[in-house]
């Protein structure tokens, strides 16, 4: 259950939602994606009301999703997983797989392999690639770096920033990893007990003390 959530993201921004475990970040993301019903309130995307739009229709409108725990299809190959992302954003042509492999070359080597056999970092890369291949306007990531090695975390966040620049992607991500929040976000919203409790402005993102307040138990 989440309530009193009011957030706005401008085109091309990278915004994060931060907060400890269990404050409702994932519930919020699922509601945003249309996987949970919105009982009250309004969700607008590109000036269009999508509060009652089903999840698959939202994807087609241009929202790419990187689920918690990466959510790759384990029994499909890397190539097939990528193919699944092509339905995202009907308004724009999909990217070429080669463009996506440029960001994560490791995936190209493994393209015939079943996604279930990839390492955690590779699965995260695949999940992100699958979402961006459809050329979404908004990319929503739910703890993209959960359970992967620190050095890979930074590689992945660099790539997301690169993609944000290259294709003008708007990024909303949910995270509790301090380093990643500071490295990626231009702005943050802090969540606690199912509501937004504060906003961290651009100039304060680098301020360790302010962020720490929202993240430590």
């Amino acid at each position: 259950m989440v309530r009193d959530m009011s957030i706005t993201i401008e085109k091309g921004e990278i915004v994060s939602i931060i907060g400890r475990n269990g404050v409702g970040k994932s519930t919020f993301v699922k509601t945003l994606m249309g996987l949970l019903k919105t009982s009250k309130g309004k969700i607008t995307f590109n000036q269009q009301d999508i509060t009652r739009t089903k999840a698959d229709e939202r994807a087609k409108l241009g929202i790419g999703y990187v689920p918690q725990g990466h959510g790759v299809f384990p029994a499909l190959t890397v190539e097939e997983n990528l193919h699944m992302g092509k339905l995202i954003n009907k308004q724009k042509p999909s990217l070429n797989p080669e463009q996506v492999y440029d960001y994560f070359p490791k995936l190209k080597e493994r393209r015939k392999q079943k996604a279930g056999t990839l390492s955690g970092g590779e699965q995260a890369a695949l999940s992100i690639s699958r979402a961006i291949i459809g050329n979404p306007d908004l990319l929503v990531l739910d703890e993209p770096t959960e359970g992967i090695q620190p050095n890979i975390v930074y590689h992945i966040s660099d790539m997301i920033k690169q993609i944000n620049k290259d294709i003008g992607l708007t990024v909303l991500f949910v995270e509790q990893h301090m380093g990643l929040i500071q490295q990626m976000s231009e702005r943050c919203y802090a969540m606690d007990k199912g509501s937004i409790v504060g906003e961290v402005k651009h100039q304060d993102v680098a301020n360790y003390e302010i962020l720490k307040r929202y993240l430590t138990v």
């Binding site: 249309g34 996987l35 999840a55 698959d56 299809f73 499909l76 339905l87 079943k114 056999t117």
Partner: protein
């Protein structure tokens, strides 16, 4: 009994198992719906084929149209009933059992206890004193064609990709833009169409009655249980294994023991491999890939 007779028996049993199981395997494997009205879908196919053929249509055409007809019927059943049960495996058992009774009794009321069938076409082939029905040999070939067709549908089409993705994780498939309800609907219709095809194919070889489907139900369930969730790998391998077991028992002691053998194999397989043959195959493949 010659070795040729035994092989003929195997071909018979193999094609019967594959064709009876295929529709059930698709619906169960992809949707986790246990379709107890599977036998009645087969029965519908048999009735349609018989009626069309007697109305003057060539047999092959009536079989084809019956498959499509039962597919459409499956689509309607899905929209009316099954779509409310996605993801509710146990409830689906009760509901589809109800559908099966309605269909059986409905047929009894409309057409009576039996329908005059069409005769088996193509005659027989005699080798070394034994006669082999050419039509049944053809069924063996068709069972392979059906498996290949299924492979192509699921591995080489967009629908196949979406349905495999939906099977693995419905929520995520949906959030990638797949209309998963439509995928389920089409999958159910496809399973129904294959059941209709089976009914049509066997219509010329059996008595046409409202209980036509019951002789398919047990073998189809055993094949799906032994095969496991993957309709491709599971059905073909379990059809092979069960075909060998039942043809040998058929040849030694008759059909009753053949059927009994199927059940015993099913019980043993559930004990050792709860996920069926395809569960084992997938485990081995994943392990090999990791190394």
């Amino acid at each position: 009994m010659s070795i040729l007779d035994l092989f003929y028996q195997f071909m018979n049993d193999f094609s019967f198992l594959i064709l009876s199981a295929i529709g059930l395997a698709i619906i169960f494997g992809m949707m986790k719906i246990i379709n107890l009205s599977h036998g009645e879908f087969i029965m519908l196919g048999a009735y349609m084929t018989t009626l069309f053929t007697k109305a003057g249509m060539p047999l092959i055409l009536s079989i084809f149209i019956s498959a499509i007809g039962v597919g459409v019927f499956g689509f309607i059943i899905d929209r009316l009933v099954i779509s409310h049960l996605y993801g509710r495996t146990l409830d689906s058992v009760v509901v589809t059992w109800g559908i099966s009774m309605v269909l059986q009794q409905g047929m009894l009321i409309i057409f009576g206890p039996s329908l005059q069938g069409v005769s088996t076409p193509l005659g027989s082939l005699s080798i070394g004193g034994s006669a082999y029905s050419i039509y049944r040999l053809l069924l063996f070939v068709i069972s392979f064609v059906v498996l290949v067709l299924l492979y192509v549908i699921f591995m080489n089409t967009k629908f196949g990709l979406y349905s495999r993705a939906t099977m693995q994780n419905q929520e995520i498939a949906q959030s990638m833009g797949v209309n998963t309800n439509r995928v389920y609907s089409l999958t159910f219709s496809l399973g129904a169409a294959f059941a209709g095809l089976t009914g049509g194919l066997y219509a010329p070889t059996m008595t046409i009655s409202p209980s036509f489907g019951t002789s398919f139900l047990m073998p189809s369930f055993v094949t799906v249980i032994v095969g496991g969730a993957n309709p491709l790998i599971g059905t073909s391998l379990s059809g092979g294994v069960l075909g060998i077991v039942s043809s040998i028992l058929d040849a030694l002691w008759g059909t009753f023991y053949g059927r009994l053998g199927l059940l015993i194999v099913a019980i043993i397989v559930i004990r050792i491999l709860p996920l069926g043959i395809s569960g084992l195959v997938e485990k081995v493949l994943v392990r090999k890939n990791r190394v």
